[in-house]
């Protein structure tokens, strides 16, 4: 109901707030809601911190979680969706001092169905977006003009929320079961007059923490390089430091960041060769020439490093023609 009122407030200024407009507004709102139908994925913004004043001064940024709860039996997609599907996208509206970055994707899961392999998430996922707080912008906006340091006190409204102070975005995703449906929603991260996020909760912050632990990490403990001939692609990973831990080879899987590199459906084999691990996979028939470099996620059932739980590592590797030593 609050959302509805906010939308109506935004559409119709208070001065023309008459019953007729209200009815008209209600009609349009309900009509659009009915036309869109209920989404199979519900999405909410969850901020990591209680407000902009709680943002770490060193990094000057906080994590904004995009929590996606997916209806049973359906799934959405990772940055590389695999053989079909589409990754979730976010189109941000410009904001004076909140500057969102790229989506950070928790480790994906593999879906095998009808001889097709896709990468994504079922049940629920919290995509993470780093949001930089531009202090300079806040200062020029609110302090230099003789304001009292509070943000959000827009114009004459006193405590009324100024919509400009919400960070808003349109989120688009494709959700699939046996059929695929493109869905979208508009979301806002609201700020109150003190720069706090009314949407903040401790449990939300914990869910962000949990999701951060699922982000693939770049580690110095392992190094990777790729070798490719016309139909086989090898990822060779070598431990670089004593931190490196060998996960169970059976559960290791390479998720390339890009489509069209490997055949997603073909099995990946993993063998230990001395102290190296060699993953072998089939080259995609849509790959036209050998890339110089390849990035992706190496996922395992256990941690790749000692004393910490890092089940997915991000690798960036040069790719060469096969050498005889393999």
């Amino acid at each position: 109901m609050i959302i509805l009122r906010n939308i109506l407030c935004a559409i119709f200024p208070l001065a023309v707030w008459k019953p007729a407009t209200l009815i008209l507004g209600m009609f349009f709102f309900l009509a659009s809601a009915v036309l869109a139908g209920p989404n199979r994925v519900s999405v909410t913004f969850i901020p990591e911190v209680a407000g902009i004043n709680a943002v770490d001064n060193q990094t000057g940024a906080f994590w904004l979680g995009v929590e996606m709860k997916i209806e049973d039996g359906w799934h959405i997609y990772w940055r590389n969706p695999g053989d079909s599907g589409l990754p979730t996208t976010i189109r941000w509206n410009e904001h004076a001092f909140l500057k969102p970055g790229e989506i950070h994707w928790p480790r994906p899961f593999r879906f095998d169905e009808d001889g097709i392999t896709t990468y994504g998430y079922s049940d629920s996922v919290v995509l993470l977006v780093p949001v930089r707080v531009s202090r300079d912008e806040i200062n020029t906006l609110f302090h230099s003009s003789g304001g009292n340091g509070n943000i959000g006190q827009g114009g004459s409204g006193g405590t009324r929320k100024n919509p400009e102070h919400a960070l808003s975005a349109q989120i688009n995703w494709l959700v699939c079961k046996d059929i695929c449906i493109p869905e979208s929603t508009q979301l806002s991260l609201h700020l109150d007059g003190k720069g706090d996020f009314p949407g903040y909760s401790e449990s939300g912050s914990e869910r962000i923490d949990r999701s951060r632990r699922l982000l693939p990490e770049s580690v110095t403990a392992w190094q990777a390089h790729g070798e490719m001939d016309s139909d086989r692609f090898k990822v060779i990973v070598t431990p670089e430091t004593g931190e490196a831990l060998f996960p169970d080879a059976d559960d290791i899987y390479f998720y390339p960041h890009l489509q069209g590199i490997i055949e997603h459906t073909a099995p990946q084999t993993v063998v230990s060769d001395g102290d190296r691990l060699i993953l072998e996979m089939q080259v995609s028939r849509y790959l036209r020439s050998r890339p110089d470099e390849l990035t992706g996620v190496l996922s395992a059932g256990q941690s790749w490093v000692r004393d910490r739980n890092v089940p997915a590592i991000e690798i960036s590797m040069p790719v060469s023609a096969p050498t005889d030593t393999n």
């Binding site: 079909s84 009808d114 097709i116 699939c176 046996d178 059929i179 449906i181 489509q259 849509y286 036209r288």
Partner: protein, 206 residues
């Protein structure tokens, strides 16, 4: 003794399976090679054999009208426009439905005829491939997945219809359409420049 017999049988079965898979692989569609031949019945009950169309360019379009990626190309009139334009230039255009009976997108012949009429689609024929044999031979993964076969029966393009993997209708007009581009080059007596491109769409429901 029994377990030994069983393991030998499993082993033999494994070999058989490997052999089958390899044989299957050899039949698969590959750029620059002969396109796998097939005979399929269309929605009106007529049989079409690919090799009967040698001397013509043939386009294969994997189809599922409820797929939002396909909807993008039909709601904007893009697919119908391509079908009509190139059929006028003598190209044979087959839309192929490989959804299995009971799976999403499967159509009985009369349903296929009706949806073709409703969408004002203009293919030469809508081919029904309910057992998915032809779809698998071409390794059609998604709808729309596109193929161009030249008059010698050689596969000269496979993959995406264009370079915009999205369901956004606005993307159609600025997209680089590989089928249009390929057919224009071929009809102009030249070679296809982009012979394959990572396909996008909904999975084929085999």
């Amino acid at each position: 003794m029994k377990t030994r017999l069983l393991s030998i049988m499993i082993l033999l079965f494994g070999f058989l399976l490997t052999g089958l898979v390899q044989a299957e692989d050899r039949k698969r569609a590959e750029i620059g090679k002969k396109a796998p031949d097939f005979t399929l019945t269309d929605a009106s009950g007529n049989k079409h054999t690919l090799s009967d169309y040698e001397d013509k360019y043939v386009v294969l379009e994997w189809l599922n009208h409820d797929c939002p990626f396909v909807v993008k190309h039909y709601a904007t009139g893009n697919m119908q426009m391509l079908q009509e334009k190139y059929r006028d230039k003598g190209v044979v255009w087959f839309s192929v439905i490989s959804s299995a009976p009971g799976k999403q997108g499967y159509l009985e012949p009369d349903q296929a005829r009706k949806v073709t009429r409703d969408k004002k689609a203009k293919p030469s024929a809508v081919l029904l491939d309910p057992d998915g044999k032809v779809g698998r031979a071409y390794d059609a993964r998604v709808t729309p997945h596109m193929y161009i076969i030249d008059p010698q029966g050689t596969l000269v393009y496979m993959g995406a219809i264009d370079d915009r993997p999205s369901t956004n209708h606005d993307d159609v007009k600025d997209a680089r359409n590989f089928v249009r581009e390929g057919l224009n080059l071929l009809l102009d007596g030249r070679d296809v420049e982009v012979t394959s491109h990572q396909p996008y769409g909904c999975t084929v429901k085999y």
